[in-house]
Symmetry: C2
Subunit: 213 residues, 2 copies
Protein backbone atom coordinates (compact mmCIF):
# COMPACT_ATOMS: atom_id res chain seq x y z
CA UNK A 1 0.00 0.00 0.00
CA UNK A 2 1.54 3.30 -1.05
CA UNK A 3 1.93 6.15 1.40
CA UNK A 4 -0.50 8.16 -0.65
CA UNK A 5 -3.49 5.88 -0.55
CA UNK A 6 -5.43 4.65 2.42
CA UNK A 7 -7.75 1.63 2.59
CA UNK A 8 -11.13 2.68 3.96
CA UNK A 9 -10.70 0.88 7.29
CA UNK A 10 -7.49 2.78 7.94
CA UNK A 11 -9.08 6.03 6.82
CA UNK A 12 -11.91 5.42 9.30
CA UNK A 13 -9.50 4.56 12.08
CA UNK A 14 -7.42 7.70 11.54
CA UNK A 15 -10.54 9.85 11.23
CA UNK A 16 -11.89 8.48 14.50
CA UNK A 17 -8.55 8.94 16.22
CA UNK A 18 -8.14 12.49 14.88
CA UNK A 19 -11.52 13.52 16.29
CA UNK A 20 -10.90 11.63 19.54
CA UNK A 21 -7.73 13.69 20.03
CA UNK A 22 -9.46 16.97 19.21
CA UNK A 23 -12.26 16.27 21.70
CA UNK A 24 -9.84 14.97 24.33
CA UNK A 25 -7.99 18.28 24.06
CA UNK A 26 -11.22 20.21 24.48
CA UNK A 27 -12.41 18.20 27.46
CA UNK A 28 -9.10 18.05 29.31
CA UNK A 29 -8.61 21.79 28.81
CA UNK A 30 -12.02 22.38 30.40
CA UNK A 31 -11.44 19.77 33.14
CA UNK A 32 -8.21 21.55 34.11
CA UNK A 33 -10.38 24.21 35.74
CA UNK A 34 -11.30 21.58 38.34
CA UNK A 35 -7.69 21.36 39.55
CA UNK A 36 -7.12 22.19 43.23
CA UNK A 37 -4.07 24.37 42.48
CA UNK A 38 -2.23 26.09 39.64
CA UNK A 39 0.51 23.48 39.37
CA UNK A 40 -1.93 20.61 38.89
CA UNK A 41 -4.03 22.74 36.58
CA UNK A 42 -1.02 23.38 34.35
CA UNK A 43 -0.19 19.65 34.20
CA UNK A 44 -3.67 18.78 32.92
CA UNK A 45 -3.43 21.63 30.38
CA UNK A 46 -0.15 20.13 29.18
CA UNK A 47 -1.75 16.70 28.87
CA UNK A 48 -4.42 18.37 26.73
CA UNK A 49 -1.77 20.03 24.57
CA UNK A 50 -0.28 16.63 23.72
CA UNK A 51 -3.68 15.58 22.36
CA UNK A 52 -3.92 18.46 19.92
CA UNK A 53 -0.34 17.87 18.72
CA UNK A 54 -1.36 14.26 18.02
CA UNK A 55 -4.49 15.47 16.27
CA UNK A 56 -2.28 17.51 13.94
CA UNK A 57 -0.07 14.52 13.11
CA UNK A 58 -3.07 12.44 12.12
CA UNK A 59 -4.78 15.26 10.22
CA UNK A 60 -1.53 15.83 8.28
CA UNK A 61 -1.35 12.12 7.44
CA UNK A 62 -4.93 12.15 6.14
CA UNK A 63 -4.20 15.29 4.10
CA UNK A 64 -1.08 13.63 2.64
CA UNK A 65 -3.37 10.88 1.30
CA UNK A 66 -5.62 13.57 -0.23
CA UNK A 67 -8.32 12.97 2.39
CA UNK A 68 -10.02 15.98 4.03
CA UNK A 69 -9.49 15.40 7.76
CA UNK A 70 -12.87 17.00 8.58
CA UNK A 71 -14.60 14.52 6.25
CA UNK A 72 -12.75 11.56 7.73
CA UNK A 73 -13.73 12.70 11.23
CA UNK A 74 -17.36 13.45 10.48
CA UNK A 75 -18.78 9.89 10.86
CA UNK A 76 -17.50 9.83 14.46
CA UNK A 77 -18.63 13.20 15.78
CA UNK A 78 -21.78 11.97 17.38
CA UNK A 79 -20.48 8.83 19.11
CA UNK A 80 -17.43 10.58 20.60
CA UNK A 81 -19.39 13.64 21.69
CA UNK A 82 -21.98 11.35 23.31
CA UNK A 83 -19.26 9.61 25.30
CA UNK A 84 -17.94 12.90 26.67
CA UNK A 85 -21.38 14.34 27.37
CA UNK A 86 -22.28 11.24 29.37
CA UNK A 87 -19.02 11.34 31.35
CA UNK A 88 -18.51 14.97 32.32
CA UNK A 89 -16.37 14.97 35.50
CA UNK A 90 -17.68 16.98 38.43
CA UNK A 91 -14.40 17.18 40.32
CA UNK A 92 -10.66 16.85 39.92
CA UNK A 93 -10.44 13.16 40.84
CA UNK A 94 -13.20 12.23 38.40
CA UNK A 95 -11.33 14.19 35.71
CA UNK A 96 -8.07 12.36 36.42
CA UNK A 97 -9.78 8.97 36.63
CA UNK A 98 -11.34 9.68 33.27
CA UNK A 99 -7.93 10.56 31.79
CA UNK A 100 -6.27 7.51 33.38
CA UNK A 101 -8.96 4.88 32.74
CA UNK A 102 -10.48 6.21 29.53
CA UNK A 103 -7.18 6.99 27.80
CA UNK A 104 -5.75 3.72 29.10
CA UNK A 105 -8.40 1.64 27.36
CA UNK A 106 -8.22 3.77 24.22
CA UNK A 107 -4.42 3.37 24.11
CA UNK A 108 -4.63 -0.40 24.51
CA UNK A 109 -7.18 -0.54 21.73
CA UNK A 110 -5.14 1.58 19.34
CA UNK A 111 -1.92 -0.30 20.20
CA UNK A 112 -3.63 -3.57 19.28
CA UNK A 113 -5.19 -2.25 16.12
CA UNK A 114 -1.91 -0.65 14.99
CA UNK A 115 -0.55 -4.18 14.49
CA UNK A 116 -3.07 -4.64 11.70
CA UNK A 117 -2.01 -1.49 9.82
CA UNK A 118 0.67 -0.99 7.21
CA UNK A 119 3.43 1.59 7.58
CA UNK A 120 3.52 4.57 7.96
CA UNK A 121 0.19 4.31 9.74
CA UNK A 122 1.23 1.64 12.22
CA UNK A 123 4.04 3.84 13.46
CA UNK A 124 1.83 6.95 13.48
CA UNK A 125 -0.82 5.31 15.64
CA UNK A 126 1.80 3.96 18.06
CA UNK A 127 3.36 7.41 18.33
CA UNK A 128 0.15 9.11 19.42
CA UNK A 129 -0.39 6.82 22.41
CA UNK A 130 -0.32 8.66 25.72
CA UNK A 131 2.86 9.51 27.52
CA UNK A 132 3.57 7.29 30.53
CA UNK A 133 4.69 10.31 32.54
CA UNK A 134 1.19 11.78 32.41
CA UNK A 135 -0.38 8.41 33.19
CA UNK A 136 1.79 8.21 36.24
CA UNK A 137 0.75 11.71 37.32
CA UNK A 138 -2.94 10.74 37.18
CA UNK A 139 -2.33 7.39 38.89
CA UNK A 140 -0.34 8.98 41.68
CA UNK A 141 -3.02 11.64 42.31
CA UNK A 142 -5.69 8.92 42.56
CA UNK A 143 -3.56 6.78 44.88
CA UNK A 144 -2.82 9.71 47.21
CA UNK A 145 -6.47 10.68 47.40
CA UNK A 146 -7.47 7.11 48.29
CA UNK A 147 -4.67 6.89 50.86
CA UNK A 148 -5.96 10.09 52.48
CA UNK A 149 -9.59 8.93 52.43
CA UNK A 150 -10.23 5.25 51.56
CA UNK A 151 -13.96 5.92 50.97
CA UNK A 152 -12.97 7.71 47.77
CA UNK A 153 -12.08 4.34 46.22
CA UNK A 154 -15.74 3.31 46.09
CA UNK A 155 -16.92 6.49 44.49
CA UNK A 156 -14.13 6.47 41.87
CA UNK A 157 -14.61 2.75 41.17
CA UNK A 158 -18.27 3.41 40.36
CA UNK A 159 -17.23 6.35 38.20
CA UNK A 160 -14.69 4.19 36.34
CA UNK A 161 -17.33 1.52 35.70
CA UNK A 162 -19.59 4.19 34.28
CA UNK A 163 -16.77 5.43 32.01
CA UNK A 164 -16.22 1.90 30.69
CA UNK A 165 -19.94 1.34 30.21
CA UNK A 166 -20.34 4.54 28.20
CA UNK A 167 -17.21 3.81 26.17
CA UNK A 168 -18.40 0.28 25.32
CA UNK A 169 -21.82 1.56 24.39
CA UNK A 170 -20.38 4.09 21.95
CA UNK A 171 -17.80 1.58 20.67
CA UNK A 172 -20.61 -0.86 19.86
CA UNK A 173 -22.39 1.89 17.96
CA UNK A 174 -19.25 2.75 15.97
CA UNK A 175 -18.58 -0.94 15.23
CA UNK A 176 -22.14 -1.44 13.98
CA UNK A 177 -21.87 1.54 11.64
CA UNK A 178 -18.32 0.93 10.35
CA UNK A 179 -17.78 -2.55 9.00
CA UNK A 180 -14.46 -1.58 7.37
CA UNK A 181 -13.11 -0.56 10.74
CA UNK A 182 -14.11 -3.84 12.32
CA UNK A 183 -12.66 -5.71 9.36
CA UNK A 184 -9.22 -4.29 10.22
CA UNK A 185 -9.15 -6.72 13.13
CA UNK A 186 -9.66 -9.79 10.99
CA UNK A 187 -12.32 -12.29 12.05
CA UNK A 188 -14.70 -12.36 15.01
CA UNK A 189 -12.42 -14.65 17.02
CA UNK A 190 -9.56 -12.13 16.82
CA UNK A 191 -12.02 -9.48 17.96
CA UNK A 192 -13.06 -11.61 20.94
CA UNK A 193 -9.44 -12.17 21.96
CA UNK A 194 -8.73 -8.45 21.69
CA UNK A 195 -11.73 -7.68 23.87
CA UNK A 196 -10.51 -10.16 26.50
CA UNK A 197 -7.05 -8.56 26.55
CA UNK A 198 -8.52 -5.05 26.85
CA UNK A 199 -10.66 -6.16 29.82
CA UNK A 200 -7.64 -7.75 31.49
CA UNK A 201 -5.42 -4.68 31.03
CA UNK A 202 -8.23 -2.45 32.31
CA UNK A 203 -8.63 -4.62 35.45
CA UNK A 204 -4.88 -4.31 36.09
CA UNK A 205 -5.02 -0.53 35.66
CA UNK A 206 -7.89 -0.30 38.14
CA UNK A 207 -6.07 -2.47 40.69
CA UNK A 208 -2.85 -0.49 40.27
CA UNK A 209 -4.46 2.64 41.77
CA UNK A 210 -6.68 0.87 44.30
CA UNK A 211 -9.95 0.84 42.38
CA UNK A 212 -12.33 -2.16 42.25
CA UNK A 213 -13.32 -3.45 38.86
CA UNK B 1 22.80 38.70 38.25
CA UNK B 2 23.23 34.92 38.59
CA UNK B 3 20.87 32.51 36.88
CA UNK B 4 19.67 31.36 40.25
CA UNK B 5 18.46 34.64 41.68
CA UNK B 6 15.78 36.93 40.38
CA UNK B 7 15.25 40.61 41.21
CA UNK B 8 11.69 41.15 42.38
CA UNK B 9 10.65 43.10 39.26
CA UNK B 10 11.73 40.20 37.05
CA UNK B 11 10.04 37.71 39.37
CA UNK B 12 6.81 39.71 39.09
CA UNK B 13 7.11 39.94 35.33
CA UNK B 14 7.65 36.20 34.92
CA UNK B 15 4.86 35.42 37.39
CA UNK B 16 2.46 37.64 35.46
CA UNK B 17 3.54 36.17 32.14
CA UNK B 18 3.23 32.59 33.45
CA UNK B 19 -0.33 33.17 34.56
CA UNK B 20 -1.18 35.10 31.39
CA UNK B 21 -0.09 32.06 29.36
CA UNK B 22 -2.06 29.63 31.53
CA UNK B 23 -5.23 31.71 31.21
CA UNK B 24 -4.67 32.33 27.51
CA UNK B 25 -4.53 28.55 27.04
CA UNK B 26 -7.76 28.11 28.97
CA UNK B 27 -9.62 30.82 27.08
CA UNK B 28 -8.42 29.93 23.60
CA UNK B 29 -9.24 26.27 24.23
CA UNK B 30 -12.78 27.29 25.16
CA UNK B 31 -13.05 29.82 22.30
CA UNK B 32 -12.12 27.08 19.82
CA UNK B 33 -15.65 25.74 20.26
CA UNK B 34 -16.85 28.85 18.42
CA UNK B 35 -15.02 27.82 15.23
CA UNK B 36 -17.19 27.36 12.14
CA UNK B 37 -15.49 24.09 11.16
CA UNK B 38 -13.16 21.40 12.50
CA UNK B 39 -10.09 22.67 10.66
CA UNK B 40 -10.35 26.16 12.12
CA UNK B 41 -11.22 24.72 15.52
CA UNK B 42 -8.03 22.64 15.49
CA UNK B 43 -5.91 25.68 14.58
CA UNK B 44 -7.19 27.66 17.58
CA UNK B 45 -6.58 24.61 19.81
CA UNK B 46 -3.00 24.53 18.52
CA UNK B 47 -2.58 28.23 19.25
CA UNK B 48 -3.75 27.46 22.80
CA UNK B 49 -1.26 24.59 23.10
CA UNK B 50 1.62 26.98 22.36
CA UNK B 51 0.53 29.08 25.35
CA UNK B 52 0.73 26.20 27.79
CA UNK B 53 4.16 25.17 26.46
CA UNK B 54 5.29 28.75 27.11
CA UNK B 55 3.75 28.64 30.56
CA UNK B 56 5.88 25.59 31.30
CA UNK B 57 9.08 27.33 30.16
CA UNK B 58 8.45 30.25 32.48
CA UNK B 59 7.33 28.10 35.41
CA UNK B 60 10.53 26.05 35.01
CA UNK B 61 12.61 29.23 35.02
CA UNK B 62 10.93 30.42 38.23
CA UNK B 63 11.45 27.01 39.82
CA UNK B 64 15.14 27.08 38.81
CA UNK B 65 15.47 30.29 40.85
CA UNK B 66 13.80 28.51 43.81
CA UNK B 67 10.56 30.46 43.34
CA UNK B 68 7.25 28.62 43.53
CA UNK B 69 5.52 29.46 40.22
CA UNK B 70 2.10 29.44 41.89
CA UNK B 71 3.29 32.06 44.39
CA UNK B 72 4.81 34.23 41.69
CA UNK B 73 1.55 34.06 39.73
CA UNK B 74 -0.78 34.71 42.65
CA UNK B 75 -0.60 38.54 42.70
CA UNK B 76 -1.89 38.60 39.12
CA UNK B 77 -4.80 36.17 39.25
CA UNK B 78 -7.47 38.75 39.77
CA UNK B 79 -6.40 41.34 37.15
CA UNK B 80 -5.90 38.77 34.39
CA UNK B 81 -9.12 36.90 35.19
CA UNK B 82 -11.00 40.22 35.18
CA UNK B 83 -9.68 41.01 31.72
CA UNK B 84 -10.88 37.69 30.32
CA UNK B 85 -14.22 37.84 32.07
CA UNK B 86 -14.87 41.29 30.64
CA UNK B 87 -13.87 40.20 27.13
CA UNK B 88 -15.53 36.84 26.58
CA UNK B 89 -16.01 36.43 22.80
CA UNK B 90 -19.48 35.54 21.61
CA UNK B 91 -18.46 34.34 18.16
CA UNK B 92 -15.53 33.13 16.12
CA UNK B 93 -14.51 36.54 14.75
CA UNK B 94 -14.53 38.10 18.21
CA UNK B 95 -12.38 35.21 19.44
CA UNK B 96 -9.86 35.70 16.62
CA UNK B 97 -9.84 39.48 17.02
CA UNK B 98 -9.11 38.98 20.69
CA UNK B 99 -6.22 36.64 19.87
CA UNK B 100 -4.88 39.00 17.18
CA UNK B 101 -5.30 42.35 18.96
CA UNK B 102 -4.89 41.29 22.59
CA UNK B 103 -1.88 39.04 22.02
CA UNK B 104 -0.40 41.63 19.66
CA UNK B 105 -0.35 44.31 22.34
CA UNK B 106 0.87 41.88 24.98
CA UNK B 107 3.70 40.72 22.69
CA UNK B 108 4.77 44.30 21.95
CA UNK B 109 4.77 45.03 25.67
CA UNK B 110 6.83 41.97 26.56
CA UNK B 111 9.23 42.54 23.65
CA UNK B 112 9.91 46.06 24.96
CA UNK B 113 10.26 45.02 28.56
CA UNK B 114 12.57 42.13 27.66
CA UNK B 115 15.18 44.73 26.71
CA UNK B 116 15.32 45.75 30.36
CA UNK B 117 15.98 42.19 31.61
CA UNK B 118 19.26 40.35 32.08
CA UNK B 119 19.91 36.97 30.48
CA UNK B 120 18.59 34.26 30.57
CA UNK B 121 15.30 36.05 31.17
CA UNK B 122 15.55 38.42 28.23
CA UNK B 123 15.86 35.50 25.86
CA UNK B 124 13.12 33.54 27.65
CA UNK B 125 10.60 36.37 27.34
CA UNK B 126 11.47 36.91 23.67
CA UNK B 127 11.03 33.18 22.99
CA UNK B 128 7.49 33.05 24.35
CA UNK B 129 6.16 35.76 22.04
CA UNK B 130 3.47 34.54 19.69
CA UNK B 131 4.22 32.79 16.46
CA UNK B 132 3.73 34.95 13.37
CA UNK B 133 2.09 32.04 11.56
CA UNK B 134 -0.81 32.05 14.00
CA UNK B 135 -1.08 35.85 13.89
CA UNK B 136 -1.34 35.60 10.15
CA UNK B 137 -4.09 32.97 10.44
CA UNK B 138 -6.16 35.28 12.67
CA UNK B 139 -5.49 38.33 10.48
CA UNK B 140 -6.44 36.49 7.32
CA UNK B 141 -9.71 35.21 8.84
CA UNK B 142 -10.64 38.76 9.90
CA UNK B 143 -9.75 40.19 6.48
CA UNK B 144 -11.80 37.56 4.64
CA UNK B 145 -14.81 38.15 6.87
CA UNK B 146 -14.67 41.90 6.26
CA UNK B 147 -14.22 41.38 2.52
CA UNK B 148 -17.35 39.20 2.50
CA UNK B 149 -19.36 41.66 4.60
CA UNK B 150 -17.85 45.14 5.14
CA UNK B 151 -20.31 45.91 7.96
CA UNK B 152 -18.37 43.44 10.11
CA UNK B 153 -15.49 45.95 10.30
CA UNK B 154 -17.54 48.30 12.49
CA UNK B 155 -18.60 45.63 14.91
CA UNK B 156 -15.07 44.20 15.24
CA UNK B 157 -13.54 47.68 15.54
CA UNK B 158 -15.80 48.38 18.52
CA UNK B 159 -14.90 45.01 19.98
CA UNK B 160 -11.17 45.73 19.55
CA UNK B 161 -11.55 49.09 21.30
CA UNK B 162 -13.27 47.34 24.17
CA UNK B 163 -10.43 44.80 24.38
CA UNK B 164 -7.87 47.60 24.56
CA UNK B 165 -9.91 49.51 27.14
CA UNK B 166 -10.20 46.48 29.40
CA UNK B 167 -6.52 45.62 28.95
CA UNK B 168 -5.45 49.19 29.84
CA UNK B 169 -7.72 49.25 32.84
CA UNK B 170 -6.22 46.01 34.22
CA UNK B 171 -2.69 47.11 33.27
CA UNK B 172 -3.18 50.33 35.28
CA UNK B 173 -4.31 48.25 38.25
CA UNK B 174 -1.27 45.96 37.99
CA UNK B 175 1.08 48.93 37.62
CA UNK B 176 -0.40 50.62 40.70
CA UNK B 177 0.03 47.47 42.77
CA UNK B 178 3.51 46.46 41.53
CA UNK B 179 6.07 49.23 41.75
CA UNK B 180 8.97 46.83 41.11
CA UNK B 181 7.44 45.83 37.82
CA UNK B 182 7.06 49.45 36.74
CA UNK B 183 10.61 50.17 37.88
CA UNK B 184 11.89 47.65 35.31
CA UNK B 185 11.08 50.23 32.65
CA UNK B 186 13.24 52.93 34.19
CA UNK B 187 11.73 56.39 34.63
CA UNK B 188 8.33 57.81 33.76
CA UNK B 189 9.55 59.26 30.46
CA UNK B 190 10.65 55.84 29.25
CA UNK B 191 7.24 54.53 30.26
CA UNK B 192 5.52 57.29 28.26
CA UNK B 193 7.60 56.54 25.17
CA UNK B 194 6.81 52.84 25.49
CA UNK B 195 3.12 53.62 25.74
CA UNK B 196 3.30 55.75 22.58
CA UNK B 197 5.03 52.96 20.68
CA UNK B 198 2.46 50.39 21.84
CA UNK B 199 -0.40 52.63 20.66
CA UNK B 200 1.30 53.15 17.30
CA UNK B 201 1.89 49.42 16.75
CA UNK B 202 -1.68 48.68 17.77
CA UNK B 203 -3.04 51.23 15.28
CA UNK B 204 -0.97 49.59 12.53
CA UNK B 205 -2.28 46.14 13.49
CA UNK B 206 -5.86 47.41 13.33
CA UNK B 207 -5.31 49.02 9.93
CA UNK B 208 -3.62 45.88 8.58
CA UNK B 209 -6.85 43.90 8.85
CA UNK B 210 -9.25 46.73 7.97
CA UNK B 211 -10.32 47.76 11.48
CA UNK B 212 -10.72 51.39 12.58
CA UNK B 213 -8.84 52.49 15.62
Amino acid sequence: MSENTLPSGCRDLLGMLAYAELLAFDRMAADARLAPDLHRRAVLCEMAAVEIANHRRIADRLASAAIDPAEAMSPFLSALASYHEATEPTDWLEALTKAYIGDGIADDFFREIAEHLDEPDRDLVLRVLHDDAYDEFAASEIRSAIAADPKIANRLSMWARRLVGEALSQAARVAAEHGDLVALLGDAEVGEQLFTRLKQAHAERMAAVGLNN
